[in-house]
Amino acid sequence: MTTTAARRATTVTAPPYQGDSTNGDSTKGDAGTHPGAAVEPHLDPALTGRPDVRPTSRRLGPGQRRRFAGLVGPAALILLWVVASATGLLDPRILSEPWTVVATAGELIADGRLQENLAISAQRAGLGLFFGIVVGAVLAVLSGLSRVGESLIDGPVQIKRAIPGLALIPLLILWFGIDETMKVLTITLGVFVPIYLQTHAGLRGIDLRYVELAQTVGLSRAGFIRRVVLPGALPGFFLGLRFAVTGAWVSLVVVEQINSTSGIGYMMELARTYGQTNIIVLGLAVYGVLGLLSDAAVRLLERKALSWQRTLAG
């Protein structure tokens, strides 16, 4: 015990490494040779006031990220719709005009039907997504870290992957009736597969060298999962999440159009019965916006959580 204390004491009093003064600043950006010095970005005053005269080499990456650049594509699509409708190229009987759809949205919001149906739809998708993420991630970790888990879990998941979600619905109705449980379960079953697949792949792709490192620093099993496995599998998990989020909305349409008395899908199904194309198109637009927004949310989350990565995405 006393030796440990003595060792600690030497640690405290040991002088910080000052670097080899004769070598000066030979390693560029090696700010560590000046302990305690604030680390500041290199701003060469000679360059700041003048036009950049560096020779331009061919750039192979996609370049800098620009704000709202992701909205350009969808906006172009809407513009195309507006132009085609205004010029009469697009028959309103085939596809309602954008302004009709906007007016319909106004009416449905005024009498509260749109919000009401949207809320119940969002609740179903959210619950299904939540359970799907938990189930998919837990199964991926179990099957990724143990051979027993892999032999038990991986096969059945691959079987589930081969069965279309739609084909399961009759059985689920038989087992769970037609209320919310069945709907959320259908979405969960659609969501957990991509989460499982991508998280599992991400986890299995973790460099073996990090496993060795974990052994040499004496990490516990739990510490290994928390510090190495989960962060290492995170890129794969987020890829799975992007599939899962859009998948949740797709499953939602299916369950709401087959048997339901509420939700966006139900609203569209009702409109089909009465031949109200404008409401159908509105429903499609809502699904589209929801899909786009949730994907953007996942990507934002991904950028925040994976800020340690240096990738082409920037």
């Binding site: 440990t4 060792r7 600690r8 030497t10 640690t11 405290v12 040991a14 002088p15 910080p16 490494y17 000052q18 670097g19 080899d20 070598n23 030979s26 390693t27 560029k28 950006g29 090696d30 700010a31 560590g32 040779t33 302990p35 305690g36 010095a37 604030a38 680390v39 060298r209 990090y210 060795e212 490192l213 974990a214 052994q215 040499t216 620093v217 004496g218 990490l219 510490g223 510090r227 190495v228 962060p231 290492g232 995170l234 994976l306 800020s307 340690w308 990565q309 240096r310």
Partner: protein, 240 residues
């Protein structure tokens, strides 16, 4: 300050590391064919040898990283062993400080991690991501990570092999200071004869899985004749 053991010391209970008749093989090929090795507390041993001579295999055996390799022999190492790899092997998703304190369970782990980083000259970089550091800085973090554990034995597998020549010289000085302050026994695997002579108290040349040559280094020894002898053992006949 260093209490050198004077080189070729026989096995005794006071030795930090004691290896007897170590045999390791991958498939039919023997990599280590009966290696004996003793390292005294605080002694700095450099292990030289051509590629494929079994240097890294020996180091991995001491680090306990060769569970899947067939072999026999006796390996006695202290409980606190730290390893520095050729790549800095920092977790890219963890901060510099998080990497240093990885696996520490005591409540003052963060404070100790900060002190260790200050010791290697990286105070203030605790929150940086590993990819934001230069290669030399990354390897310093790896040194801080291994020394924050106060190891009795430090195993280093060509830790400076990937660095440029100037950074490597700085790292030699840093490692010397750190070893003087913490006094672990050190086994440094390297292919660089000069690095071995500069840093070690004793140099061992491994050839075909056996100890081929063992020499005391340090200031009391004629550096150029030692250098020539080591190079000759490695099959290089340098001009005088």
């Amino acid at each position: 300050m260093a209490t050198h053991t004077g080189g070729l010391k026989s096995a005794g209970p006071s030795n930090e590391v004691s290896v007897r008749n170590l045999i390791r093989s991958f498939g039919p090929k023997g990599v280590l064919n009966g290696v004996d090795l003793d390292i005294a507390p605080g002694e700095f041993v450099a292990l030289l040898g051509p590629s494929g001579c079994g240097k890294s295999t020996l180091l991995r055996a001491l680090a306990g990283l060769d569970r899947d390799v067939r072999g026999s022999g006796v390996v006695k190492v202290p409980e606190q062993v730290s390893v520095v790899f050729q790549d800095s092997r920092l977790l890219p998703w963890d901060s510099v400080l998080g990497n240093v304190t990885l696996g520490l369970r005591d409540h003052d782990a963060d404070a100790r991690g900060r002190r260790a980083l200050a010791e290697v000259g990286l105070a203030g970089r605790e929150k940086a991501w590993p990819h934001e550091l230069s290669g030399g800085e990354q390897q310093r973090v790896a040194l801080a990570r291994s020394l924050v554990r106060e190891p009795r034995l430090l195993l280093a597998d060509e830790p400076f092999g990937a660095l440029d020549a100037l950074t490597r010289l700085k790292m030699h000085a840093l490692l010397k200071d750190l070893v003087a302050a913490h006094r672990p026994a050190v086994l440094l695997v390297t292919h660089d004869v000069d690095e071995a002579i500069t840093l070690a108290d004793r140099v061992i040349v491994l050839q075909d899985g056996r100890v081929a040559l063992e020499r005391t280094a340090g200031t009391s020894v004629d550096q150029s004749s030692l250098r020539g002898e080591l190079l000759a053992a490695l099959g290089v006949h340098a001009a005088a």
